[in-house]
Structure formats: structure tokens, C-alpha cells
Subunit: 390 residues, 2 copies
């Protein structure tokens, strides 16, 4: 066995995540490891909490980071708030609503699915109908920014409807945090989870989460223990809480250095400025995509700026395009997922990767590769049109 050190190729990450990691974050991750109960580290965790509250726009005391990726953050929300026999309304409009259902049924609870076409936003009226039909439902869950389709639902309206029917809300903000307006307190979100590898452009592996006081009361009123020891919020609050730190698990020290730096960067830029930057780069991408004659699957107004699902032109071998982009241009864009597999590309302009240079590069090489494959597009039109934007 003679395996050598791994030296990754230098890619430009414009898929559904991870996004390009800011070199300041990579450098922070390489700082010397210290103990997870070291007072210096505990102080850093407190700073991560404060900056995560800022990113989520919340005063929730129960705001911290799960030591595992976003899918564990999802499971964290469900296992703490749902008990066997509970009824949970899930509004699905893509892959991740289906994953929510998996979480609910594995708890032994009942998932009431409110289905929306993939590529559309969650319909508030359909949610209200489901709530009327299921007065015993206790939770409403949905995805704010569907990474599989690029649709952004109206989280505020959905949460307010849920509360009218005395339901708590669980919101997936994996792709929205740091990239699009997200206001946990103002929108009355009770439980939220995100990921670090999207618009925070940190390395994957952590899930920022936040629980409202209403959600914490629900946890206190549980009749059964939380089925996961690793994800039990009662134990995690002892580890991340403000009192004496109680040993739970060993935090991923260096990855948290990275998240800390990502959040310092977000503070420096300002949340509103980060949202505006993602929007502006989306407008530039949109101009180029449309100039090529390509189209988005989500209708204007419902689109998530940072994740763009683009229809594949007729007769084009979509996998060959992605391979050419990756192998010849070191550019990663994403494939379709679930019902959209083979039907769309997903172009992410998230976090550090959300800049004019990347957008222009992506449009240019996509144009070149498609033209090379003889695709029916307006070859050469993309760059000049896009360049007109600011």
C-alpha cells in the first residue's frame, strides 16, 4: 500500500454546494488545534453563537451549531420536536421535503404531505387547507430555499399561517442563510437549520441551528425521550449554553475555526450587502443565460438568486457538458436531483463564489462547451449581454 498525500485540483465551485471557500477560512482552519474545553475555545464558541444569531436575525438563546452536516441539522429539528404519533404537515416542492418525510416517519410520527410541483414555491393556500383538514397537526415543516429546484418560498407567510393553527414551524434554510433575506424572529420561525457550505462558503460539516422559546417549551413538554443521544437538545444546550460547559461530544475544533472566520467575514460585509451581492450576481447570470436562449425552470420572482436550475437544451448530453466543464475548465456545476435528474443543471453562485468573475467565466465556458457540442443556442451572445449589467 503506497497511498500518497492528496492534492485536490483547483476547481471553481458553482454547483449546489460546497461553494468556493474563502482563503481566509481555509487558513483559519489550519490554525493549531486546542482543547474543546479550553477557555479560549469556549470563548470562541460564544462568539460563534452571537454571530450565528446575527446571520439568522434572531435573539434566540438556543442558537448554536450541530457538529455534523445540514442533514443532521434537519434530523436535530425533527427528533427534538416530534414524538411518536404526532402529525406533521410537510409542504414539499423538491427533494428535501421528501427527506423531511423520511425523518418524520422514522420517528413513528405521521407525515401529511402537501405537494407542490417541483420548481414552484410552496402554496400558502394549500397549507391552510391542510391545516383545516388536520386540526390535530402539531408541526408545519418546509424548505425555504429548495436546493434541488432553486425556488424560494415565502417563509414568513407560511409560518404565520402555521401559527394561526397552533403549529410550530421547522424551516430548512440550508441554501438561504447568508445569501437571501432570512429573518427568524420577524418571520416567527420556531426551528431552523442550515449548512455552512453554501452562502457562508465555509467547508461542509456543520449545521447552524436555532430554536425559539416556543420550540424549547415543546421540548420540555415531551412525554418521551429524544430518540437520538447525539442530537438531544437538552444535552447540547449544556455544551453550548452560557453556564458551566458540560461535556457532551468533542466539537470539531478546526471546522469551527472555519465557521468563526466565515461569520466574521459575513459581519464585515454586512448581511444586507451579502444578500444584495447574491441578487446582483444572479441578475448577471440571468442576462447571460437568457442571451444564450436557455431558460430557468422557476418563474421570475420565485427564483432563489444563489441557486439557478437551468433547463437543458434539447438533444444535449447534460453529463457530457458537466464533464467537459469540470475536466477542461475546472468548473463544477450541479446535476439535477430526484425528479429533475437529467432535466436541469444547477448553477450555484453562493458565498465566496458569488462574484462577477465567476459568473462571466461560467457563462463563457458554458457557451463554448455547448457550441462545441453543436447545441442549439445563441453562441457568443452570452458574454456581451451579461457584461452590460453593472
Amino acid at each position: 500500500m503506497t497511498i500518497q498525500s492528496f492534492h485536490p485540483p483547483a476547481r471553481i465551485l458553482m454547483g449546489p454546494g460546497p461553494s468556493d471557500v474563502n482563503p481566509r477560512i481555509l487558513e483559519a482552519m489550519s490554525r493549531p488545534t486546542i482543547g474543546h474545553l479550553d477557555p479560549a475555545f469556549v470563548g470562541m464558541m460564544d462568539e460563534v453563537k452571537v454571530m450565528t444569531q446575527y446571520a439568522f436575525q434572531t435573539k434566540n438563546e438556543a442558537t448554536f451549531t450541530i457538529s455534523a452536516p445540514g442533514s443532521a441539522g434537519m434530523e436535530f429539528c425533527f427528533v427534538n420536536l416530534v414524538e411518536p404519533g404526532d402529525k406533521v404537515i410537510i409542504c414539499q416542492n423538491g427533494v428535501f421535503g421528501g427527506r423531511m418525510k423520511e425523518n418524520v416517519t422514522r420517528i413513528g410520527a405521521q407525515a401529511i404531505m402537501v405537494e407542490n410541483d417541483w420548481g414552484t414555491v410552496v402554496d400558502p393556500n394549500a397549507l391552510e387547507d391542510a391545516l383545516k383538514a388536520n386540526p390535530d397537526a402539531s408541526i408545519v415543516a418546509f424548505v425555504h430555499a429548495e436546493t434541488s429546484t432553486g425556488a424560494m418560498s415565502d417563509a414568513e407567510t407560511l409560518c404565520k399561517i402555521a401559527h394561526k393553527y397552533d403549529c410550530l414551524t421547522i424551516v430548512d434554510a440550508v441554501t438561504s442563510l447568508g445569501g437571501s433575506p432570512l429573518k427568524v424572529d420577524e418571520w416567527e420561525i420556531d426551528a431552523i437549520y442550515s449548512g455552512t457550505q453554501k452562502c457562508l462558503s465555509c467547508t461542509p460539516g456543520l449545521s447552524p441551528v436555532s430554536f425559539s422559546d416556543r420550540a424549547l417549551e415543546r421540548v420540555k413538554a415531551r412525554k418521551t425521550p429524544v430518540q437520538s443521544w447525539f442530537l438531544d437538545i437538552n444535552l447540547l444546550l449544556g455544551y453550548w449554553g452560557s453556564g458551566t460547559r458540560a461535556y457532551h461530544h468533542t466539537a470539531p475544533i478546526n471546522t469551527l475555526y472555519g465557521l468563526h472566520e466565515a461569520l466574521v467575514l459575513l459581519q464585515e460585509e454586512g448581511l444586507e450587502n451579502a444578500w444584495a451581492r447574491h441578487r446582483k450576481n444572479h441578475e448577471m447570470l440571468k442576462a447571460g443565460i437568457e442571451a444564450m436562449g436557455l431558460s430557468f425552470i422557476v418563474k421570475e420572482g420565485d427564483r432563489l438568486p444563489q441557486l439557478n436550475a437551468v433547463s437543458i437544451p434539447d438533444g444535449v448530453d447534460e453529463a457530457a457538458v458537466r464533464s467537459a466543464l469540470l475536466n477542461e475548465y475546472n468548473l463544477e456545476i450541479g446535476a439535477g436531483l430526484g425528479a429533475l435528474a437529467g432535466k436541469v443543471w444547477r448553477i450555484g453562485i453562493m458565498g465566496y463564489a458569488s462574484n462577477r468573475k465567476n459568473v462571466m467565466y461560467c457563462l463563457g465556458v458554458l457557451d463554448t462547451v455547448l457550441a462545441g457540442l453543436g447545441a442549439d443556442i445563441n453562441t457568443g451572445a452570452a458574454l456581451p449581454e451579461a457584461a452590460k449589467i453593472d
Copy 2:
């Protein structure tokens, strides 16, 4: 809000983990992030698998890494192999056996506890008695290297007894992997989990695991779904398996770069050489500890070389000693945990931190700090005695 970038102090980590991370690993973690479905990354994951098989001394195909710390690795083993109503025999001789019990009861299964005094090894006769008394038990679980006490149990004997009674075995090897002899196939371990922040001296946040074919058959024969979506081995094998990679979660890319480099380092040194190094540095520490008139709580022969629980001399404020070591000498040693809180210090000599320089430094500053507090020890005796070793 004006939070600055975090610059950790330069510590020497000789507690129960994390241990000092090799600079080569820190550097590897700072390499550019690539996509988790990038063929280059998939190739790296395959190499991590092969090198983890080497570290575990197994040919198990189901050998990979959980994208979360060791406590999630523990939960992974239990939620996949235990169903509600099952009977699990847990041999406890420290904190982590208690955590196993938590895992079992949260599944709705029954934990039969075989208690051993803290600081002693698991008694094979007591296990056999429990198996005779519980012919319907299906699993035996125990900790190979108890991080809370520093006792190393005879995993081979325990596993062979369990198999005699048709039970599968779950073994916690968080602190033994890479530091002490551990032979998954030869010892007939069915399910094993470890951590990366101990003798592999990688950053915390990942849990190497392995399942035998017997364990996989048990999973296939389950009557109920695995209660965790994130930890379901059926889904994880699709992500880490040899066929087409199926998207499950987003792997913690840069942390895996670190583990890859840690395993390359282990290969370069050779597993047996790493075990011998940990043993030799333990002998040096032992000579110094005994020269000071201090003692180990685990009897000779049962001690884990890499984690040493040392009794606190009468009248010494143990927390003041740890604070002085940390604040004046940047040396971290561990406090006692659970039943041993306030009674022992835990001195780790693990991974990259397991070297002569660290051992001599630890003995020297411990001697100085204890003497400064007027402790009844053989001041000044430690260094010369220790120096005689090799």
C-alpha cells in the same frame, strides 16, 4: 458587534483528546475545497476506506467514516444493529459504557448492564454469566480503551465469548485506534467505531467505523427501519460504496483531507511502530510519575499506554494544577470524568503528541507546579528518573 478573527493559543495537548495535530494534517485541511461528488474526491474517499481498513486491521467492505464525531459513531452502531425490544448486554467500566446504555434505551431496547469497577478492565467471567442468564440477548457492547479511566479490556476474549452465545459485538475503539493493538478481523469484532482526534491526531469531527458481514446480515434482517436517516448504514453504503455514488449528505471535505493525511502518516510509520511508540512513551511517563511518588489508578498490565489516569495527591487542588499548567505552561491535561471527577488527572500521550519531548515537558512542569503548591511529592525526582528510559 466587532468580533475579530480567532487566533488560538499554541497549546500542547496531553489530555484525553483532541491530541496535538500534526502540521502536515493542518496543512492538508487548508487545501482548496472541491465538490463531494468530484471524481477526484471520490477517489480520495476510496483511499480513506483502504487506509481505514489497514488501521482497523480488517477486510470489511463496510469500512468508512461517519461525518460526525465519535459519539455519532457510537449511535451509528447501535441504531443500525439494535431494534426496539432487543436485549443488549453492556459491560461498563467507565463513562462511555453509560453512554452506550443511553443509546440502547433511546431505541426502546433493553440494556443489561454488567458493571465493573471504574479503573478495572471488563471481566470476561461476568460477561459469560450475563450471557448465560440472558439467552435472548442479541448484542454485547463494551469499550476497548476506556478514555475515562485508562483501562484497556481484552477485546478478543470478550468478542469470542459473545460469539459463543450467538451475540454480535459492538466495540468502542475511540482511544485505541492507532495507539494500541487492535485487530478487528482476528478478534471477531462485528461493529466498531473510533474517533480521529486521539491516536490518529487529526482534528475532531469524524468517526471511522467498520461493520462485519455478520453485522450487515443483521441489518438486512431488521423488521423495523433504522430510526436515524443521517446514520442509516443502507444509505451510507450507497454514498461510500464502490458502485455509483448516491448523494446522501455533503461530506466534510476538508476534514476528510485531514483524515486522509493522518492515515498516510500512519501508513508511513507503520501500525506496529505506532503502537510501540505509544507504549514506549507511556513507559517514560510511568517512570517519571512513579518517581514523583504519584500513582496510576489502573493496575499494571491493564493500562492503556496512551491515556493515563493519575491519582491526585492528598490536599492538592486539582483544578488549580490544571489551570496553572494551561495558563503558565500552555499544557493541557484532562480532569476526571463521571465517578472519577476530582479524583484523577488524565494524561494523554496520543498520536503526534506521543513523543519524548512532550513527556519530559509534562513531567517537568507538573513537578514544578505541584512543588509550587507545596504538594507532598518527590520534587525534582521526576526528570532524572524518566530520562534513564531509552
